[in-house]
Subunit: 253 residues, 2 copies
């Protein structure tokens, strides 16, 4: 990894349903990829329950530690949607009815449908800016460096895509993955030597098995194109030295 | 949620590949379900990078806070497999070559294949107990209340299933999910009233949309069967009151 100051983020997934195993989180991987595309690196993620003390303490810890924080979940109309109130408490401000958010919901719901429960979704911490929701109108919001998003993946993604251009990112991480049919224990020593020679390139080694195939996927990540090319060439040569054939290279995460 | 003392766990997923978005974690949901089946509740999860300071600080924080800690990832043969060394440092003990682990690897590999890189997988913190791996032999280990497992899901699951009977769990959480074709904003107020009447039953509300269907899934969780039955009956009646039809109930996560 290159040594210039990276712009960092923490993703906080809020929801008992993830911790019970009922639901498989899909938001972390989406945000990780999407944030990297604008030069922001997810350095940590937390999955926490719908518990006020835990939400408040976690948000206050990570907003001090990372450049950006993205929360998902808990901003709907029901009793278990407590994220907005907890964020307000974390920032020490009141939760207020936001006139623009209320107007958005009034346009979305038919006469008489905007009940008290749904109006919860128009409440944000004082001083927060709305993050518009093109799908179902109820907005997310930003306060300080914390971006508060819903848990439903399609809605979360639509909101994120609407504001991601405002994030002040650093350099984008470039990556290259090279697969070979060699077990990682066989190439581990030589791979470590290559890693030692390229301290600014993060080299990950991921074994795979199953369906009659086995091998190792090597992933190189750095912000520097020339270093990436040079390290990838050494990895390919190393694979051939051990009798393997490097795959065509894939770019991506 | 019932108020007797629950047995709690934290899952720590270690790996740059999850934070880059390259790989979607599958271990948290498996562990959450499997731990609940033996009466242990996952209360938090962390996803952290292959960074020694972060691993050491996180493990020391969460092992003091939860009854059990389960780490996944970073115990293979390559340079980026640093979990075992970090766990040793977190506990302030040396990393040692474990004779039994070495013997297991010697049986698994052919003559001459057990190189120095692979021998890394036979190193554990002093005082650790091995967790046997029926798939690929390289073991996990337990030290104190921390269980150290590999990241490859099939191998992780095989090791976990081999030791889960030794965990001292509390009561198993029972759950019931009821789906209806009503939007959650419509039933939110009445659902909140039911939740107020059953403080020991955790009631979650999860909206769904797409493929022409929409509605809400209500999930009730508690350790008390009678409370679960009573709360579920109230939820069904409430759905009917709003003109909906409750689905057959599913048990599970």
């Amino acid at each position: 990894m290159s040594h210039e100051k990276a712009v960092t983020a923490c993703v906080v997934v809020i929801g008992n349903e993830i911790l019970s195993g009922r639901t498989q989180d899909a938001n972390l991987s989406y945000l990780a990829l999407a944030l990297n595309s604008v030069g922001v690196r997810v350095r940590e993620a937390r999955v926490i329950p719908d518990d006020p003390d835990t939400i408040i303490a976690t948000v206050n810890e990570v907003r001090a530690k990372f450049d950006y924080v993205f929360t998902t979940g808990g901003i709907g109309p029901t009793h278990d949607d407590i994220t907005s109130l907890c964020i307000a408490r974390a920032f020490g401000v009141p939760l207020i009815l936001h006139p623009e958010a209320k107007a958005l919901l009034e346009m979305h719901y038919r006469q008489g449908e905007l009940n008290e429960a749904r109006l919860r979704m128009a409440h944000v911490p004082e001083g927060a800016e709305l993050l518009l929701n093109p799908v179902s109108r109820a907005p997310g919001f930003r306060i300080g460096n914390v971006f508060v998003l819903p848990g439903v993946p399609l809605v979360m993604q639509a909101i994120f895509d609407g504001f991601k251009h405002i994030l002040a990112g650093g350099k984008t991480v470039l990556s290259r993955s090279i697969t070979c049919a060699l077990l990682e224990g066989r190439i581990a020593a030589d791979l470590g030597t290559i890693q030692d020679g390229y301290p600014c390139v993060e080299i990950g080694s991921y074994p795979f098995f199953g369906q009659g195939a086995y091998g190792t996927c090597l992933v190189l990540r750095t912000t520097d194109q020339a270093l990436l090319d040079a390290a990838a060439a050494e990895v390919r040569a190393m694979i051939r030295k051990h009798g393997g054939e490097p795959s065509p290279e894939n770019t991506g995460a």
